[in-house]
């Protein structure tokens, strides 16, 4: 997804969830903007994982520690409970096994923040229903054959996955192009969702 299109509102939602002075691991950190804001606005110590060499160079230029890694290979390079927060923003739908990555994130972080586009958004449904075609929208701008989004899910799908893999949802924020959406209507009207998660076992 083109970073220019990525709503910075998503960053605001995430930053709100992070306690000051915590340690953060941002998976798929891109150009490091979120980590930079967390450092400035929350005094966090952060580290990024990124696969793209150009993004890595940009992060280094911002003084951000960045580790080149492929999320599909898990987080074996990271210790259990090494970070206060592990963040995965707009990337969940691009990995081969989102369920496994989620468990890995829960292992490495005391808290996990996941932000992703809600495929249940009504315009996606209408495109499929009336045009009989895979949806192409502002948040999902790709044709089906070229999309990096190989595991799109709805908000409700994600809640189910969390329950299945023993992950407890602490908070859930849904928005429609930056404006908050009530949880009851979220699966239909939210374009973006952001979850704060903890291990069900750890949360007891």
């Amino acid at each position: 997804m083109n970073p220019g299109n990525r709503p910075h509102v998503a960053y605001d939602e995430i930053i709100k969830l992070v306690e000051p002075r915590s340690t953060v691991l941002d998976l798929g950190c891109g150009d490091g903007e979120l980590l930079q804001r967390l450092r400035q606005e929350r005094s966090c110590r952060g580290r990024g994982v990124e696969i793209d060499e150009g993004h890595i160079r940009t992060c280094i230029g911002k003084g951000i520690s960045v580790f080149q890694g492929n999320l599909d290979q898990g987080l074996a390079d990271h210790e259990s409970n090494a970070y206060d927060y592990v963040i995965l923003n707009q990337t969940l739908q691009m990995v081969h096994r989102p369920d496994r990555l989620l468990r890995e994130m829960i292992r490495v972080g005391r808290n996990v923040i996941v932000g992703f586009p809600n495929f249940g958004y009504y315009l996606n449904r209408l495109q499929l229903l009336f045009r009989g075609r895979m949806p192409v929208t502002g948040t999902l701008p790709y044709e089906w054959y070229e999309t990096p989004n190989i595991h799109l899910c709805t908000l409700r799908d994600f809640r189910n996955l969390c329950a299945t893999v023993n992950i407890h949802v602490k908070t859930e924020a849904a928005s429609h192009k930056g404006r908050p959406v009530s949880p009851i209507a979220a699966n239909l009207f939210a374009t973006e969702v952001c979850f704060l998660l903890v291990d069900s076992l750890k949360s007891i």
Binding site: R45, R47, E53, C59, I60, I64, S65, F67, Q68, E79
Partner: protein, 389 residues
């Protein structure tokens, strides 16, 4: 001595300098316990040291490198220094901003004290009587040079391969004197495979009849053995893919194979050529001492664990590995990065996808340059903010 203020930023024609110490009870105490003195260190520098001596970068050369990192030794010299593409005005090690130093390692044969130097106690060359040198000993000699140049804290140390090992030692043991460490294609301990190739090289040298237990300085040196050692070395610096691209199965100076044992393939004559030119500039005894220093280097064993090695470091790290490097494979760099991450240290890591094998760190200038440039600029900013002298 005042420092190099007169030199213009473009390396251009540079002359090596020499620093000597250890003649008056101030010899270098080696890891082996022996005290070595006098010690001479050959070095070059590029750019200008600023008033508070806060812009110095020390480049650390690899196994067969020398102090001549950039520029030319004379106006008709056709071969620039080994990292010329990286050092100069506007280049990553920007001589308009930084004062860049490179010294020949202790135990080497290109200006610094090594087995080919004269032992003052006997009046003869040391040969194999030279004390065993470690990577840490090389760094200790570099620290003496920094003291001499009036540099209390380096902005950065940078090196690939054996140079990366020295950079690791700097950051692990002397982090109060180095703000950032750039480590390219290196390891905290050489693999069994690497040791094996070094052993073959040493065996080639020692089985040359001219080697004579290292006492060959008054006669013909063991050039055949040394050149075979170098040929083996060159194979390990390349990769299957780079050899295929560079030579394939092309024949040298002929259209078809004849049925003789003369060199026929391009790759054969390349290795012969590389081996042949190497013996003109390298001492066989230094090959033995330096390759042993690489083999013995083992931060895990020395410190108990890699985490211990970096427990107290305050340096920042930039670590780069290269996908086709099978001599210092990327997993070894990642081990260092993992240990640093476990200790919550500042470390950035990238595995650059490159076909050139271990040699990539000298060839992939355009890929690594932007990262090194960015890393150095953040070090300078940190330094300004901290107001550290």
């Amino acid at each position: 001595m005042s420092v190099e203020a007169e030199r213009k930023s473009e390396p251009g024609v540079v002359a090596p300098r020499y620093f000597e110490f250890g003649s008056q009870n101030d010899g270098l105490t080696l890891d082996s316990g022996q005290v070595l003195g006098p010690v001479r260190i050959c070095y070059e520098s590029y750019g200008t040291l600023n008033a508070d001596a806060s812009n110095a970068i020390l480049l650390l050369h690899a196994f067969s490198g020398d102090a001549h990192a950039a520029g030319y030794h004379s106006s008709d010299d056709r071969h620039p220094g080994w990292w010329h593409s990286m050092v100069g005005p506007g280049r990553p090690f920007d001589t308009d901003l930084y004062f860049v130093i490179c010294s020949n390692v202790l135990g080497g044969c290109q200006g610094s004290t090594g087995p080919g130097s004269v032992n003052p106690e006997t009046g003869d060359r040391y040969g194999l009587e030279f004390p065993v040198i470690t990577i840490h000993d090389m760094v200790k000699a570099q620290i003496r040079l920094m003291d001499h140049l009036g540099i209390q804290k380096l902005l950065a140390v940078a090196g690939g391969s054996m140079g990366g090992m020295q950079a690791l030692e700097w950051a692990s043991r002397y982090s109060s004197r180095v703000q950032g460490a750039i480590i390219l294609a290196s390891t905290s301990r050489l693999s069994a495979q690497g040791i094996a190739f070094n052993a073959v090289g040493r065996n080639a040298i020692m089985s040359d009849p001219r080697f004579r237990d290292g006492c060959y300085y008054d006669g013909e040196p063991p050039t055949r053995g040394l050149s075979i050692a170098r040929m083996v070395g060159h194979i390990t610096y390349l990769s299957d893919e780079s050899m295929r691209m560079k030579f394939g199965r092309r024949l040298q100076d002929r259209d078809s194979m004849d049925f003789s044992f003369a060199d026929q393939f391009e790759v054969e004559s390349y290795l012969e050529y590389k081996g042949g030119t190497f013996v003109d500039r390298f001492d066989a005894n230094s090959y033995i001492f330096l390759s042993k220093a690489i083999d013995y280097f083992d931060m895990e064993t020395t410190h108990g664990s890699l985490e211990n090695a970096f427990a107290t470091t305050s340096s920042k790290f930039l670590i780069l590995s290269f996908s086709s490097d099978w001599l210092y494979p990327p997993y070894q760099s990642r081990e260092i990065v993992r240990a640093l991450m476990r200790k919550q240290k500042d470390v950035s890591y990238c595995e650059i996808s490159s076909p050139y094998g271990h040699d990539s760190f000298l060839l992939e200038t355009e890929r690594q340059a932007p990262m090194i440039r960015a890393f150095l600029s953040t070090l300078s900013q940190d330094r300004t903010m901290d107001g550290v002298p």
